[in-house]
Symmetry: C2
Subunit: 389 residues, 2 copies
């Protein structure tokens, strides 16, 4: 084989992020092995070398690692103790297990930012038992209540008022009981949300991508799409990149990180949270940047130099999710009409069936101006429907 090295990359998780990582490595014939419980997961469509097993299963993680030279993960919910054990046996795990330990727990994450002088919104930590007292003492009427652990894609996070909290308390709502405890965080209306992808090579070199902005639907207040470049000034963009680079440097570990940031009305920048892996906000880099976030992670894991992160043209990405009223096998309606629009790139994750709000894929739009990108985004969103077969 023509590889410059015979490194096999081991990945915990076999979802769409794994699939896209392996696709990015195909031109150089990178070698992968991955751990995932479902044999027909997205990554299985592009890689045969699967260990079938759960991401909390220490024995399976060991089996994965036996065939690999370097280990990473495409999801946070994995067995950290098993990763630490690999590190003790001199196996490279990137990002390091102690970084993942901090990130898995939103309380530790917030404290890490505070300890490293990283700007983050005010917060206090609370146990389940103390929650009522903590809420009463919190100075504002409206606040953000987060489970420290186990949240995903917005689950375990709610914006509520003290009176809404009282209602949840009296109705014994599940969401205010959590073994891992809570973060109570300042609520700031009208923030701009961006994410900065940061790559750290094994030699410590760091590079970041331009911020990608989350655009919200003004009616539903749900995220509508992600767009780059952001609507922020060059100065604020640079500040976002600086802060993202600073926080990632504090982790002191190779890896690819997505740093979510809030920018308030005073142009103050705050770190919201970090994912230690490729991220939704970097999907557009596949088509729009000189080096995609997936190629960047491949380079990091193979101990190669980092690639150029420059954005080549405006780009936006939108998730393709299962509609609330469709279950089971599905097709994309109006696919031909969508493919007739110049600069639309559809990525499907190969999931056999849909369920309400399930992430089935995404599409990216490239165009010469942001205005054109936004117009095409509206057009494709109108056309693209998931329907039953």
């Amino acid at each position: 084989m023509e590889q410059s090295n015979k490194i096999t990359i081991g990945i915990l998780g076999g979802g769409q992020l794994g699939k896209m990582l392996f696709e990015a490595g195909s031109p150089l014939n990178n070698r992968y092995r991955f751990l995932e419980s479902s044999p027909d997961c997205p990554a299985s469509l592009v890689c045969n070398n699967q260990v079938v097993g759960g991401l909390m299963d220490a024995d399976k993680i060991e089996t994965l690692a036996e065939g690999c030279d370097v280990i990473s993960y495409e999801i946070e919910h994995v067995n950290i103790d098993a990763l630490r054990k690999l590190e003790e046996n001199n196996k490279s795990v990137f990002p390091k297990s102690n970084v993942l330990k901090t990130i898995q727990d939103k309380g530790l994450q917030k404290q890490f930012y505070r300890n490293h002088n990283i700007p983050t919104l005010d917060f206090i930590l609370s146990t389940s038992a103390n929650l009522q007292t903590s809420v009463e003492r919190w100075p504002d009427t409206k606040f953000v209540l987060k489970h420290r652990k186990g949240g995903y894609d917005g689950k375990g996070v709610q914006v509520i008022t003290k009176s809404q909290y009282a209602e949840l308390l009296s109705s014994k709502d599940d969401s205010i009981n959590n073994d891992s405890g809570f973060v109570i965080e300042k609520f700031v209306p009208e923030v701009t949300e961006v994410a900065v992808i940061v790559g750290v090579a094994q030699d410590g070199t760091i590079t970041s991508y331009d911020p990608c902005e989350m655009v919200f639907d003004p009616k539903s207040n749900l995220m509508d799409y992600l767009i780059a470049p952001s609507s922020l000034s060059q100065e604020i963009n640079n500040r976002c990149k600086e802060i993202a680079t600073k926080v990632v440097r504090s982790f002191d570990s190779p890896g690819l990180f997505a740093v979510e940031l809030f920018i308030d009305d005073n142009d103050d920048v705050f770190v919201n949270e970090i994912a230690p892996r490729p991220h939704n906000s970097g999907h557009h880099t596949i088509e729009s940047c000189i080096t995609s976030q997936y190629e960047q992670l491949n380079r990091i894991l193979l101990n190669q130099p980092l690639g150029d992160t420059r954005l080549m043209c405006p780009a936006a990405t939108c998730n393709i999710v299962g509609p609330p009223d469709v279950l089971g096998e599905y097709i994309i309606d109006n696919l031909d009409e969508i493919l007739s629009i110049s600069g639309v790139y559809i990525h499907m994750y190969g999931k056999a069936s849909t369920s309400p709000y399930r992430k089935l894929g995404h599409f990216t739009i490239l165009s010469e101006t942001k205005e054109e990108v936004v117009n095409k985004m509206k057009q494709v969103k109108e056309l693209l429907k998931i329907k039953s077969t």
Copy 2:
């Protein structure tokens, strides 16, 4: 599965063109099956669904087709009668077998151009037995002598003078005996060579890419690299696209075609020859065009609308070939230095061993200006060495 259709694409051949075709289809989870005699061919690295067999084996071609809805090929040297039989049984073969029949034979190709008023350099056809007489009657001292069939990558083509021919004759050189006969063609020095990729959809829609120019090394006179846009004026570029479109339309078949053209000192454009498949001169489209030549062929085979062919930035491609003095297992030397250069994309074909002049891969360079592309090309060519492991 989320495909809008459940079409399986069958491909005769499992080389690098197949590999890149399958890579282009991965984001939409396209289904492929391919026929190739070697189980560890390039395409096998990205597709499990292989029929092991030769491309002249009618039974194997039938086996391939049984599992497929539409058939194409990534190499010309296949059993045409077997393809015609598939067509008689209402299987779609694109490009159609009669097109391949014309293209496989350089004599029929040249006659086709003449019959369809396509500009092509003057020629006569000759059998092996008549070759001496034909050469004597040819008006110019210097001419191009081509085998009608079986040539590949420049083999079976020579530029010679009448006296050189006489030497070959007296030494009974193999190259002047060929069962399929010969084309004697006008030799024009100092031509510019470009190629235009043309896509024809199943509904007859046609689209073409901007011409890509072959740049020759002034010392060795061998092709050095391919670059787009070409050095020709916009007017000549457009004429090249028009002529390429006209000749492909004359074939009256869906498919992807690479039309090689000569432009002489008077700015006259001539069709040299045509490949009915993805082509070296379109490798750069993977990174530089809105729709790559591979994605375009996928769309054609899946009966989807054609994609936008626009070039987004200057790009050049160079083959990575085995050096004359290296045999067997190999690595790329200086890979890290090469990957440190912004906008360099390496594609390796996964061939297990090298031999002199074997095509092992290619690299593409993107940059904002053609000058930068050319400078980086020199840099990478200096650095990139294939060496034994």
